[in-house]
């Protein structure tokens, strides 16, 4: 099936939440907690959210249910969470692209359906630096060769992405702007299809998270030329960062937990505390290692600071891409 399968009814479903009996006087949580996953199953938010939910359950002594509300590259689920009752029973797991939606709406002259201010950040769990990949049919062995060639032959290469203004498109746009080069854009409808396009040589360049591409890199089907982290990734010690190469760009595929605006402080601090316990547990570390990630936990204050800085990068990238 395709992305169209994942239509979700935000407005109507919001009544579902509102209809639940509110028993504020009970100790939180007194009933199951719903964790909204705004992406199709198997995505970054899902593979982080499921172990998190499983480990959170025994701590809060209530079921933690993951509800997939995928659609519109994560906007449908985010909007659902933004308009949910802020009682701590509806939480959101989202990724870096949460910062871009309002900016895209502004670009099209639409009223933003939600902004960053509609969410309270609670914790960040992972932050995987992106890598710039070329497939094995390309001759480039360093980023410099790629940039030089593209300067001589603009639009010679095609890059694929998971969709317009998506988590894979934004860093590519930032890099192209910094390097002063142009490539043709092949948007697809997901991270999987974008990688498939690269391996099948229907596109030549892809900026992807390390975890998603590690299998193909190990098999030699894709070659990393640069890393978007502030230091080299432990699994790719020979790949230079963009900063080393003289481009001041950082970009991470991070996954964090959010609560709707207006969630009472005691509930937020309880969630912070339990999230911290989960994030530093060995079982969570193990689960993250299995998906090729290191836990990069940030508590609320640090996460908020990181998110503010990161959102600037994302908004810049959206403006840079502009209306297509």
């Amino acid at each position: 099936m395709d992305r169209r399968q994942f239509v979700a009814g935000s407005a109507a479903a919001a009544t579902l939440v509102a209809a639940g009996p509110s028993r504020a006087q009970d100790a939180y949580p007194s009933r199951p907690i719903t964790l909204i996953n705004p992406f199709p199953p198997g995505g970054a938010a899902d593979v982080v959210g499921r172990p998190f939910a499983a480990l959170l359950e025994p701590l809060v002594k209530q079921p933690v249910v993951i509800e997939t509300k995928a659609g519109a590259a994560g906007a449908v689920g985010a909007q659902f969470a933004a308009s949910a009752n802020p009682d701590g029973y509806t939480l959101l797991i989202h990724i870096v692209s949460i910062s871009g939606f309002a900016e895209v709406d502004k670009l099209f002259g639409r009223a933003a359906k939600f902004t960053r201010a509609d969410f309270i950040p609670i914790a960040r769990f992972i932050a995987d630096p992106m890598v710039l990949l070329v497939n094995d049919k390309q001759p480039y062995t360093s980023l410099k060769e790629l940039v030089d060639d593209l300067k001589k032959n603009p639009e010679k290469l095609i890059f694929s992405s998971s969709g317009l203004y998506g988590a894979l498109h934004l860093p590519t746009a930032l890099f192209m702007q910094a390097a002063g080069i142009k490539m043709k854009h092949l948007p697809t409808n997901g991270g999987g299809p974008a990688l498939t396009a690269l391996i099948g040589n229907n596109s030549n360049v892809l900026v992807s998270s390390i975890a998603a591409a590690s299998g193909q890199m190990k098999a030699g089907k894709a070659r990393a030329l640069a890393c978007f982290g502030d230091k080299r990734a432990p699994v790719l010690p020979n790949v230079p960062t963009l900063k080393e190469l003289g481009y001041n760009i950082e970009f991470y595929l991070w996954v964090g937990l959010f609560a709707p605006k207006g969630t009472p402080d005691p509930i937020v601090s309880r969630l912070r505390e339990e999230s911290r316990k989960v994030a530093i547990s060995d079982r969570f570390k193990q689960a993250m290692n299995n998906i090729g990630q290191d836990v990069a936990y940030l508590d609320q204050p640090e996460f908020r600071a990181f998110w503010d800085a990161d959102a600037k990068r994302v908004e810049d990238a959206v403006r840079q891409i502009g209306k297509v």
Partner: protein
């Protein structure tokens, strides 16, 4: 080859371990259930049970989750045949002739043929997966946007054979489907199309609500209970099984559907959905009695059901051979492998042979289990038809609503289903066939995306479709088919279509 046999033996030694057998059985059981109930498709079934597998090792987890996936393809035909509710897009074609067979009292036969066809297709699929997965994987990778566009054009050409109404009516329905498919955010430019700022429409209209509305609810709306006379179809046991003649009629469609489905399934992306449409059109095209289609043709059940099962197995090829998630279901399976510490990728066979071959071997076993599970159930399902219609149709209405709601937990989807039920009722009054509409809706997003991607790749040069060998071949076949039908229509006036047209003209005067 020898190494393949050795590896397969290793796989069977894993698959026959009692604990692995148990999880394969559990997967198949849940899959059958998930497939039968409308709405909860394989994707939801797998995601729901994913956390349950956290405590298991990778082999058991993947064996069980894959069991849900291919098991659900067996059950998918049940509601289509008995109640005309297509549980998912690939069952739409089964609704047409399967339900017609059920109305003629051949529900048992239709269910048996669907189960046996699924078994043959599934087993053949695994066999092909065992022997030729790596070269096939390489072939699948050559399917880029231009190839996709060409394949879908071929699908549209086949459309003309799919429907019993005139070409103009068929194309109008397909156009309506394509337009419905345009609703939502445009992937290439971010424009909100025809969604009127309703975020739930951002991802477009789902296939399940439309198909369930047009077929399931539409049927009920145009069948008032007083027109269903008291004679309830009560099949005796002997009539549950297909007759010798029905077996004979289904043999070749099963074989063709299996081959076609597997090849289409291997192609990355959502091509497997169209396998059952293609198979139906193919069977109708080459049948000696195309006029029987829509009125309970055995081939119209056997072909598409085999095709969608073979396609679901074929979809494992890119995942296993290349480590690429090519559809939502394989993406979840890959995530499951990841969570269990087995990174899927081209190196999977070498790094984790026990997982890879154990998985393959368990699919042989699983297909047998599914046949054993499904055939005895046929008798039970058919008794559903003994329920008096005035009690049965409210149940069907309820299943339509649950099924559509459960796909995305969206009430908007239920409204869409309801509107489509009314549309289906009206279309029937004006002699339109809804099947091409569903096909149009299914292919619209992929067709548009791949067409525009191809043009981006070639900087607006149309020749890209003819320069690439696979795309060129597919287009040549499409053109050939069109030319052939054109010539046939001109010269062979005895052609059934021509005689139908004549009959229509006769009606007019």
């Amino acid at each position: 080859m020898e190494s393949t046999i050795d590896s397969l033996l290793l796989g069977f030694s894993v698959a026959f371990r009692p604990d692995v057998l148990l999880y394969a059985f559990l997967g198949c059981l849940v899959g059958t259930l998930v497939g039968m109930l409308p709405g909860i498709g394989p994707l939801a079934g797998i995601s729901i049970l994913l956390p349950v597998t956290f405590g298991l090792d990778a082999t058991k987890a993947i064996v069980m989750l894959a069991g849900i996936y291919y098991g659900s393809q067996y059950g998918g035909s049940t509601t289509s045949i008995l109640m005309r509710i297509p549980g998912e897009a690939s069952s739409v074609m089964t609704c047409i002739d399967g339900y017609a067979m059920a109305q003629r009292g051949r529900a048992g036969a239709a269910l048996c043929i669907a189960a046996v066809g699924s078994f043959i297709a599934g087993t053949f699929g695994v066999l092909a997966l065992t022997v030729i997965a790596p070269p096939l994987g390489a072939f699948a990778l050559r399917f880029g946007p231009p190839e996709y566009t060409a394949l879908l054009i071929l699908g549209l050409v086949f459309l003309a054979y799919m429907s019993s109404t005139s070409l103009a009516r068929t194309l109008l329905m397909a156009g309506l489907g394509l337009m419905l498919g345009c609703i939502g955010i445009d992937v290439m430019t971010g424009h909100f199309r025809y969604a009127f700022d309703i975020p739930a429409l951002g991802d477009g209209i789902g296939v399940v609500p439309v198909a369930v509305g047009l077929f399931g609810l539409g049927e009920i709306l145009s069948t008032p209970s007083k027109s269903v006379t008291a004679q309830v179809v009560t099949p005796r046991l002997a009539e549950l099984l297909p007759s010798r003649q029905e077996w004979r009629q289904s043999a070749m469609p099963i074989a063709r559907g299996t081959l076609l489905g597997f090849v289409v399934g291997v192609i990355p992306g959502s091509a497997h959905i169209i396998s059952s449409f293609l198979s139906y059109a193919l069977e109708k095209r080459i049948s000696k009695h195309p006029e029987e289609f829509g009125k309970g043709a055995v081939a119209g059940v056997a072909g598409p059901e085999s095709a969608n099962n073979a396609a679901s197995t074929g979809a494992f090829v890119p995942m296993l051979a290349l480590g690429l998630p090519t559809g939502p279901v394989t993406a979840v399976l890959m995530a499951a492998l990841l969570i269990h510490g087995v990174p899927p990728g081209p190196m999977l066979v070498n790094d984790h042979p026990e997982v890879f071959w154990g998985f393959i071997a368990s699919m042989y076993v699983g297909n047998l289990m599914l046949l054993a599970l499904n055939l005895p159930l046929v008798g039970m399902f058919v008794t559903v038809l003994r329920i008096p219609y005035s009690y049965l149709y409210p149940l069907i209405v309820m299943f339509c609503i649950i099924g559509v709601y459960e796909v995305n937990h969206s009430v908007v989807d239920v409204w869409i289903m309801l509107i489509m039920g009314v549309v289906g009722y009206l279309l029937r009054k004006f002699d339109f066939d809804p099947a091409p509409l569903v096909l149009g809706l299914v292919i619209a997003p992929t067709f548009e995306l791949s067409l525009r991607q191809s043009l981006v790749m070639s900087s607006g040069n149309w020749t890209i479709f003819f320069e690439r060998p696979i795309a060129g071949t597919l287009l040549a076949v499409s053109i050939g088919l069109l030319a052939y039908s054109g010539i046939a229509a001109l010269f062979r006036r005895g052609d059934w279509r021509a005689s139908l047209a004549k009959a229509e003209i006769g009606d007019k005067n």
